[in-house]
């Protein structure tokens, strides 16, 4: 307990509190800009963080990422463009809710869920860190392979009405993930001698193209025709009613646990957590048919999960020095630079520092509520700007965001190409989400599959004979064959039914 108060004293310093406020504002801004992710916000902060005291540096990173994670929902709600990849899963739900005048149920819900998720994750981090790390450390490529494949299978769940169109979109994403250098042999695939393609297709660029540019194209073609419809009904209270919030308690709790667990897995971050929570929420939802068309349940589950994942990713970071996601990869760097070696001994040697991290997490997520409300109002003001001014500015920020990833103009061509592709796809009712999922998880599936096969000398049974891998493998197969089995059972019952009645 003394360590906790030592941590509290470390945080309650003027310089730490001021940096928390500044980085909060910065995080909210970066998160609101489509294409600039929470990771990028943190990456931009690194040069500053190096000059700060250890606690202030960590506080900056934690606050900034938590704020950016929520702020990504704001453009998602108002413009149908996710501000960060982690908001992509429930973008359409948010936007449809806002359109039907339920601002509080969309953004207010996501704000409170984000804060709750962050706090829930922080509490799990405080009490379960060593336990969770012991679980996560047993994951080898077999488990990752199944987990990613399970994630890909979820693509069919988020695919929308037409499963076939969803699968087609997924295959396009999987194809894009194949481009670049082969992971095992280093041989070039589909690069056609273009040096820039050796890097593979950048996820951020595709996301900006698929979600932002395609949306701008859609808006541009609609200009002049339905000008009146363009105004969004953005009236309504910024917060949901207590009753609505209470109704979502199960989704919030489930999202928090799923988010923390996925965040704790090295390599899987907030975006994957949001997708998985979205799919799981749909399974348990009262109204699964509303998912993708303005479901409060979808927002509650996924918005909780992505913030919880942030906290969860600190588990392997602190306990083994293995980063849980791209943000904590930067955190490890900052920690070492500040003379703190992450590892099991960090809980003994730097207990005050570890407690300071917990406290900053709690503080940042509490601070998220008032600052988030301010950001929502700001977002409302921004949305009332004339389209002719607003959309070019968004386009500029999107292109800047894509360029900033690798300072490479080639990324802009990728944005343009995917923007046109996805615009055409969406005009013909092909969903974009599976494409993104295919691109992200395709590489994870392939790399872990190849690693596993090499380790097992080509022996397939090794994919099942480890306890966690076996369970995940069977689960994946069930997800695949469930519709088939359910269909067969229904048909058998269907033929049996009439005979019963007669």
């Amino acid at each position: 307990m003394t360590a906790f108060f030592d941590g509290l004293t470390l945080v309650m310093q003027a310089d730490v509190l001021v940096t928390i406020l500044i980085s909060a504002a910065f995080g909210l801004f970066v998160g609101m800009v489509p294409g600039l992710s929470a990771t990028m916000a943190v990456a931009l902060l690194v040069p500053v963080a190096f000059t700060l005291s250890p606690v202030a540096a960590l506080a900056t990173i934690i606050t900034c990422s938590a704020m950016a994670m929520f702020a990504g929902d704001i453009p998602a709600a108002f413009l149908r463009i996710p501000g960060t990849p982690a908001s992509a899963a429930y973008t359409y739900d948010m936007n449809d809710l806002v359109r039907s005048g339920r601002l509080g149920d969309a953004l207010g819900m996501s704000l409170l869920c984000s804060a709750t998720g962050g706090i829930l994750g922080a509490v799990i981090l405080m009490f379960g860190a060593p336990l969770l790390a012991d679980f996560a450390i047993n994951f080898s490529s077999y488990e990752y392979f199944w987990l990613a494949l399970l994630g890909l299978s979820c693509a069919t769940l988020v695919a929308g009405d037409d499963a076939l169109k969803g699968w087609l979109s997924l295959t396009i994403g999987l194809f894009l993930s194949v481009i670049g250098l082969d992971f095992v042999t280093g041989i070039q695939r589909y690069t056609f001698g273009v040096t820039n393609l050796q890097a593979g297709i950048g996820f951020i660029s595709v996301m900006i193209g698929a979600f932002a540019l395609s949306e701008l194209f859609r808006k541009a073609t609609g200009f002049g025709e339905k000008q009146a419809e363009a105004r969004l009904g953005i009236s309504g209270a910024p917060l949901p009613r207590m009753r609505t919030l209470w109704d979502q308690r199960n989704h919030i709790a489930r999202g928090g646990v799923i988010g923390t667990l996925i965040g704790a897995l090295p390599g899987a971050g907030a975006d994957i957590a949001a997708w998985v929570a979205y799919a799981v929420s749909k399974r348990f939802a009262k109204e699964p048919e509303r998912f993708g068309r303005g479901s409060v349940e979808a927002v509650a589950g996924a918005a909780t999960a992505n913030n919880a994942a942030l906290s969860g990713s600190y588990v392997p970071t602190l306990v083994f020095g293995i980063p849980g996601d791209s943000i904590t990869a930067i955190v490890v760097g900052v920690l070492i630079l500040k003379g703190i070696q992450p590892g099991p001994l960090v809980f003994v040697n730097s207990a005050d520092m570890v407690n300071a991290i917990y406290i900053v997490f709690l503080l940042a997520n509490i601070l998220l509520v008032p600052l988030g409300i301010a950001a929502i109002y700001l977002g409302r003001t921004v949305i009332s700007i004339r389209d002719a001014i607003l959309y070019p500015v968004i386009l500029l920020l999107c292109l800047y965001g894509a360029y900033a990833v690798s300072n490479n103009t080639f990324e802009l061509w990728i944005v343009l190409a995917t923007g046109i592709l996805v615009w055409i796809m969406q005009e013909n009712n092909y969903p974009a989400a599976p494409l993104i999922l295919g691109l992200v998880l395709g590489q994870v599936v392939e790399q872990n599959f190849m690693s596993s096969l090499i380790k097992a000398d080509g022996n397939i049974i090794n994919f099942f004979n480890r306890p966690i891998a076996g369970v995940l493998g069977v689960l994946t197969l069930v997800v695949w064959f469930y519709p088939l089995m359910a269909g067969t059972i229904r048909r058998v019952r269907g033929t049996a039914g009439p005979t019963d009645q007669t």
């Binding site: 490529s141 070039q188 050796q198 099991p344 300072n407």
Partner: protein, 323 residues
């Protein structure tokens, strides 16, 4: 007439000299071929801040990641050779030619100064029966190829080549141990802890957390002398009797055609910063191996790397070009 010519020649020479003396007069860009937030990026940023003080102009770090760093490295060569755009080259640049990724050879770069060399180390799980690297080599030799697996590095990456080179130097087929490619040391160590592989090849500081957690132990380090921060880890020579050094490195490079005066100014500045107290303290703290070498030694090193990497990549069967 002759006099006039002579005067104008002198005037020209002086003005040219003056222009030279003024270098640098505007901000310098340092291209980092890896992403922001990584190890190379961190070293580059500290180096850049030191260079700012030394040269009196701002030095901006610009990250150009992608394609296993081939994109950033290509740009270092095609940039305007005025000394205002430099690159922070890493060990990978000597592999592109052999891997068929591009036409760039290590010898194409204009060496300015080397600042870092990280020696690879041979990590095994604490539960492993191998107590020293000689025993490990014996068993690798005795068992059929592919019995043992190594990870912690990508195919054709610096540590992979160092590991293969080490096996070769000790009379073992470089292909006897199968590589399970991973992106960096961390996933490799996780595989090691999860029991999927037998060896991780990475630097000693990268294995620090796992050593403290008593999940892994280093058997040898591929350097000529023991590493100060890890006095208990024997060198390759002490462990096997055969000297071997291998690992990854970082240094400042430029395009060909730099003015010799400009190159000299830059070399002096980098060497001075490399030996400065602040930089040395940073490198030690962060666990990077310090190795500061001027242009000439760096150039020889690059030429040597080009040949060595070509030979070992051909042995491994991952080269697209013959030696």
């Amino acid at each position: 007439m002759l006099k006039k010519l002579a005067t104008s020649a002198i005037v020209l020479a002086i003005s040219a000299g003056a222009a030279m003396a003024e270098f640098p007069e505007k901000p310098i860009t340092l291209i980092v071929p890896w992403a922001a937030g990584g190890g190379t990026d961190a070293v580059a940023r500290i180096l850049a801040s030191g260079l700012e003080k030394e040269l009196g102009v701002s030095v901006n770090v610009v990250n150009k990641p992608g394609g296993g760093s081939v994109i950033g490295h290509s740009e270092m060569l095609t940039t305007n050779p005025d000394g205002y755009t430099l690159g922070f080259g890493t060990a990978e640049l000597s592999t592109f030619y052999w891997a068929g990724q591009s036409e760039i050879k290590a010898t194409d770069f204009n060496p300015i100064a080397l600042v870092n060399f990280d020696s690879g180390a041979f990590h095994v799980p604490t539960s492993s029966d191998w107590t020293d690297v000689a025993a490990a080599l014996e068993e690798i030799k005795a068992q059929p190829a592919g019995t043992f697996k190594v990870s912690g590095t990508g195919t054709g990456a610096a540590y992979h080549l160092a590991f293969a080179g080490f096996l070769k130097a000790n009379g073992v087929d470089p292909l006897a141990v199968t590589l399970v490619p991973s992106q960096g040391a961390a996933p490799g160590f996780q595989e090691l802890a999860a029991g999927g592989i037998d060896v991780v090849l990475s630097s000693l500081p990268e294995g620090m957390a796992m050593m403290q957690a008593e999940k892994s132990k280093p058997l040898a380090v591929f350097s000529e002398e023991r590493i100060a921060a890890f006095p208990d880890v024997p060198t390759a020579e002490e462990a096997t009797g055969k000297p071997f050094a291998g690992g990854t490195w970082r240094g400042v490079v430029g395009p060909q055609g730099l003015d010799p005066e400009v190159a000299k100014t830059l070399e002096d500045a980098v060497v001075k910063v490399g030996n400065s107290e602040e930089f040395v303290a940073f490198m030690n703290e962060k666990g990077f191996g310090l190795r500061v070498r001027g242009s000439e030694a760096f150039g020889e090193f690059l030429a040597e790397q080009h040949v060595q990497v070509g030979s070992i990549m051909n042995d491994l069967g991952i080269a697209q070009r013959k030696e």
